[in-house]
Subunit: 455 residues, 2 copies
């Protein structure tokens, strides 16, 4: 007989992970190195330290060290909002009438509203430790910008956020949260950087793009003494910090002797998915356990399910290192009907390599189905999920319904990365029956694949 | 030496309260009875059961029973988001350089964003149990409407919300959260009720008021078979349900042998304050302990600090029972510059009576100071607080700073009722330096006191 599982499994403070886990250390075949966009040779630590803080550049390039101590200052910050609960979705199980046991690791119980804070505080901490004055970054939907603003406010570090202009205007509340935390938020393209002025001159009235905002943030960091650029996803350093999600989830499962069968995460750049699955994949790599792992991506931006595995630019401005990844080509832009995040053209090189080696499956889902799943979940489990997270909910529900057919008592674990309070425009479209689905045609993908570099 | 206190004290599920506590049972001098607005005689159970569910009407009138069992169905719902954490504000203490120990009971970690859900699920449950089809209510800022929508979605009960028209238009996201949970949200005044049509005819283009929305909700409940009206604050039944806040807080403090010295809560209608202080006041009433209790209200709506203790109308439409309370008169309307909730003209009759008997103090604060405190708190403790909750933060900070002077190691506990994600318009005003303060003049109060009934 199974032990009585509470609705929410909270670890005690002393049970919280004290180290991050670097899954690359246990991979026999490592992810391909990132390349200098100028020389097309592997980036050196020195080169990378011009863009990132030294410690973060080291973490980015280190594929040997399995465990990194989490500094005490970061642990103390984590204690303000972590450990996050692993929730047993009793009400959802009942609603679905499934014998499956559904668990979700909920990362939305902090003001930034998502898991992004786990890496934001780490990146801000190393910048502060290096004696920097501040950091620059870009933000699209705003989760990352909010998280970084919070971390910088805590450490009294200057924070400059280039926010894609259409988001800046359409999501004024996101902007105001950042400002309340003392961040300087600039709509991108701006007139304060060379690249911004150039784009404004070339495309008058443009409402911006993530690629342009990245370029502006990098230029701003380079142009100011004591500043570095930071990023909220895709990078392997980010996956390292986000491993805290998976480590906590695993500790909570172990505490109640629960063996996960299926682990599900939404996948955009891979920060959440990579963090969630790290320790589980680590066991698989060492032959200690086996799991079914499913990455869920939007059908409108299907890098894993329809992309190619190749070196590509990480940004449209082509100033950042190149990475080998599953990609749609840096020229890919998701349809305007696509709501929320998960709109990056590529996928973390670690997640890409693990996918290529067969450690995880990928599935793409259409957004109307995703919002239906989100609503079902919200009604019975209380939490209003972010559109991103709802991709994982959709597949968790599908898997639980399969168990109803097969009568399997599987343990399904999924990552609930955040809340949807700042995504109500998308919910409104859904509530009004005006949400559209979009799947790129073969022709469109062919066009964006043409933007891949020849290397 | 004190025991090591974690950042967040979480009770185990089995430590959660199984009963609500009715503080009236232990009061020697009871709060004055509510009166039928027609006869000006104490309302009977029968009369009240026409408006409220029978069980809730019973709870409303019962000032003898100290403990009410929380039904299992409600306990299970509570388990989805409760117990809420009692947080030790280590970072705030450090920032203030105070020897005081500051704790806050955080009720914002649920999608409704506040403590309102504690009573919403109870009221929805009793409605469902009575076999009703649905409930009607009004909402201003939207916290209560959201909470009730969530509770009704969970129980598959129809939910009709009359939302003050200016909020409906200015807070579309609040409205969409309710709609996502399946609620029917109508801007008030509407054309679907007699009182709505009358007001629309009399004041064309009016953007509505809480008083009008209450009248519409009551009329809608009366006019539909199988419907009752529900309310999120002021009522003693609401304070009963909200006692779960105080009971949990007390259990968490007891678990670590912490004796609170000062307990602080924001006060509008009294739902949070009354719930938070109930068990502590219970000890005071029985002579078992002594606490300094401080109710904090906006200087722009100062019912306790500048109101009179008298029978008054609970709604501007004068359809609800009269209650004896500290009140500014039902004709009082806070200045347009006042942000957030805490804008009710009166105060829960239980809180009023306890205040009259000297069990608590009251203090009023101006909103610019409140938002400054909110920002300080957000930067070091991570959480972006609701404007309402920030009234308590302001006074908690003041008290902690006093301790710095006196070198007292006091234990200060305050209620952090909710999050401010849907209040970013007010934060923006603050960020832009455009927030105004307002204190009603003696002349203005005199005018609104003139709206008091002669009884």
């Amino acid at each position: 007989m199974r032990q009585e599982i509470p609705y929410k499994i909270y670890l005690e403070e002393q049970e919280m992970p004290k180290q991050w886990y670097n899954v690359r250390a246990d991979m026999k075949k490592k992810p391909a190195p990132i390349l200098n966009p100028g020389t097309l040779k592997p980036v050196t630590l020195e080169e990378l330290s011009g863009i990132f803080c030294e410690e973060l550049a080291k973490q980015e390039l280190d594929d040997v060290t399995a465990c990194f101590d989490i500094p005490d200052e970061i642990l103390n910050f984590y204690k303000m909002y972590r450990p996050s609960p692993l929730v047993r979705a009793y009400c959802l199980e009942k609603k679905l009438d499934t014998p499956a046991h559904i668990y979700y690791k909920f990362e939305g119980n902090n003001t930034s509203g998502s898991h992004k804070l786990n890496s934001a505080i780490a990146q801000a901490y190393y910048a502060k430790k290096q004696g920097l004055k501040g950091v620059t970054t870009e933000t699209g939907a705003g989760q990352w910008g909010t998280a970084l603003s919070m971390a910088c406010a805590y450490l009294d570090l200057d924070c400059q956020v280039y926010m894609v202009k259409c988001s800046y205007e359409q999501k004024p509340f996101r902007r105001e949260v950042m400002r309340t935390y003392g961040a300087h938020v600039t709509p991108s393209p701006s007139m304060s950087t060379e690249v911004g002025r150039k784009i404004n001159a070339e495309f008058p009235g443009t409402t911006g793009s993530l690629g342009c905002a990245i370029s502006e943030a990098v230029e701003a960091a380079m142009g100011q003494e004591g500043y570095r650029y930071v990023l909220g996803s895709v990078l392997t350093q980010v996956l390292l910090h986000q491993s805290v999600i998976g480590l906590e989830a695993k500790a909570a499962l172990d505490k109640y002797n629960i063996k996960a069968d299926t682990i599900i995460g939404c996948a955009g750049g891979g920060s959440n998915l990579g963090g969630l699955i790290s320790p589980f994949v680590g066991q698989m790599l060492k032959g200690e356990a086996d799991y079914e792992i499913i990455a869920v991506e939007p059908a409108s931006c299907p890098s894993l399910t329809r992309g190619v595995y190749a070196y590509d630019y990480c940004d449209t401005g082509k100033v950042c290192p190149l990475a080998k990844m599953y990609t749609l080509g840096s020229g890919f832009i998701p349809s305007a009907s696509h709501a929320g995040g998960l709109r990056y053209h590529g996928m973390s090189s670690v997640v890409s390599e693990l996918y290529d080696q067969g450690y995880l499956k990928a599935r793409s889902v259409e957004q109307t189905e995703v919002f239906k799943a989100a609503q079902t979940f919200a009604k019975v489990e209380g939490i209003l999920p972010a559109p991103e997270s709802s991709h994982a909910i959709k597949v968790a529900i599908d898997e639980a319904l399969k168990c109803r057919e097969t009568k399997e008592e599987k343990n399904i674990v999924f990552g609930l990365t955040g809340t949807g309070y700042f995504d109500m425009v998308a919910y409104q479209r859904f509530n009004d029956g005006e949400m559209a689905d979009y799947i790129p045609t073969e022709e469109e993908l062919k066009k964006s694949f043409a933007t891949l570099p020849k290397c």
